[in-house]
Symmetry: C2
Subunit: 254 residues, 2 copies
């Protein structure tokens, strides 16, 4: 009896209490994968943990499915670590579009320029100006705060920093888990898509990577390559086909 | 017979083809207003244009309602201008959470610092350093481009610029329209809420402004002040109450 994690939908990174950065993921692919698992393998499944943001499409109702909602990337990482350490997870299907960046600070052109010119004044004449400016931008403390940033600023500067990679944690915490990764690019060649997808696979020791291009996704049409560790791959043309191929790859390996 | 425009939900401002900035508006208040109008005034309504983003809650089904989907703020402004010039609009209920800012450019700390240090090198020694840096940040041309910005940057700088104010255009194009504006703040006093709301009312010649605070919105509870041009105001405690008060204020004035 298998225990499975599916992550689905897109994360949200707050700018303030009202505004946030998110992505175009709806969670429909995660839904299809969950539906395919329930339809084809219900007798072999003990539990599916379905991790998704509040607003994503919910999975099909089933006593086998437990929905766990998550907000930003930090919150998601905590949940993933907890599940992988407290429970035995056989299959991890990581279809959530996790934000690569989170908000470090919000400032304005005037605040930031003041900070940079102050740091330049304080510096020794021989110091490397460019490096000093770069460090000032990185560590800038002249920021806008408050629950909701005013709509009256002439301009805003949002500094983003990378989020911790959720996918890197999975095999480290649970080497025996069958891991399915996802890579979405936009407007690239198939060769480039395979190269970047295989890179993700090798870096995170995935057992399967679904590589897709935004230009090939619209309505029911969803072209994807399913890359295997040995370099071979399968082709899918719809979300249902992607879901079915994931199920047969994940269960066929036993 | 009245022609009405309702705007609802939140706008999305793209960062690239995958990522965007949006806000927490769901469009539920716009739905309630539309439902209240259809329930109480259907015999006096010729048409309701319902402007909302693709993902917002849709209004109740009715032959009187025409849904017009819109994406970013620029797109919304075009639609609003078209409706107000090509048709006679009696009531305009502008409940959409329109982004105050749109993405000007995306850069990185290293690209931006290089640009600033280059400009400083080129400048005369007597020039005001701070102003020069501020102008460089505003007009920076060292930007990241491409369909989807790489997830491998060490950090990203997003520069935002103000969007054109949709609400300002309404009375300019159609002075006879009954205009309902909305102001959402977060964690302020009632006095501050009234002050900022009245400011919005006077600046845009609104006939009514719904002023609300994020701290007083959760589930069914939705506290709001409905401000009138003479400085008097009404109180509401739920979305349904807000909707009913808007209907009676907008229709009572005839």
């Amino acid at each position: 009896m298998k225990k499975i994690v599916i992550t689905a939908g897109g994360t949200s990174e707050p700018i303030d209490t009202v505004r946030f950065i998110t992505n175009s993921s709806t969670g429909r692919l995660g839904y299809e994968i969950c539906a395919a698992l329930l339809k084809q393998k219900a007798t072999e499944i003990e539990k599916i943990y379905y991790l998704c943001p509040l607003r994503a499409v919910r999975p099909p109702e089933s006593p086998l499915v437990e929905v766990v909602t998550s907000g930003g990337t930090a919150n998601l990482l905590e949940t993933v670590k907890r599940l992988l350490t407290e429970d035995r997870i056989d299959i991890f299907i990581h279809s959530m579009a996790v934000s690569d960046y989170t908000v470090d600070y919000v400032s304005s052109a005037s605040l930031l320029s003041l900070e940079i010119s102050e740091k330049l004044k304080e510096s020794e004449p021989c110091e490397d100006t460019c490096t000093l400016i770069e460090e000032t931008i990185r560590n800038n403390k002249a920021v806008l705060t408050g629950n909701k940033i005013s709509s009256d600023e002439k301009d805003l500067i949002i500094k983003l920093k990378p989020t911790p990679k959720v996918i890197s944690a999975i095999k480290l915490l649970s080497p025996g888990t069958f891991l399915v990764g996802f890579k979405l690019l936009s407007g690239v060649t198939e060769e480039e898509l395979r190269r970047v997808g295989m890179n993700l696979l090798q870096k995170n020791r995935c057992d399967l990577v679904v590589a897709n291009d935004l230009a090939n996704i619209s309505g029911e049409r969803h072209k994807a390559l399913l890359l295997r560790p040995d370099g071979s791959f399968l082709r899918a043309g719809t979300k249902a086909e992607i879901a079915n191929l994931i199920v047969s790859e994940a269960f066929g390996k036993d």
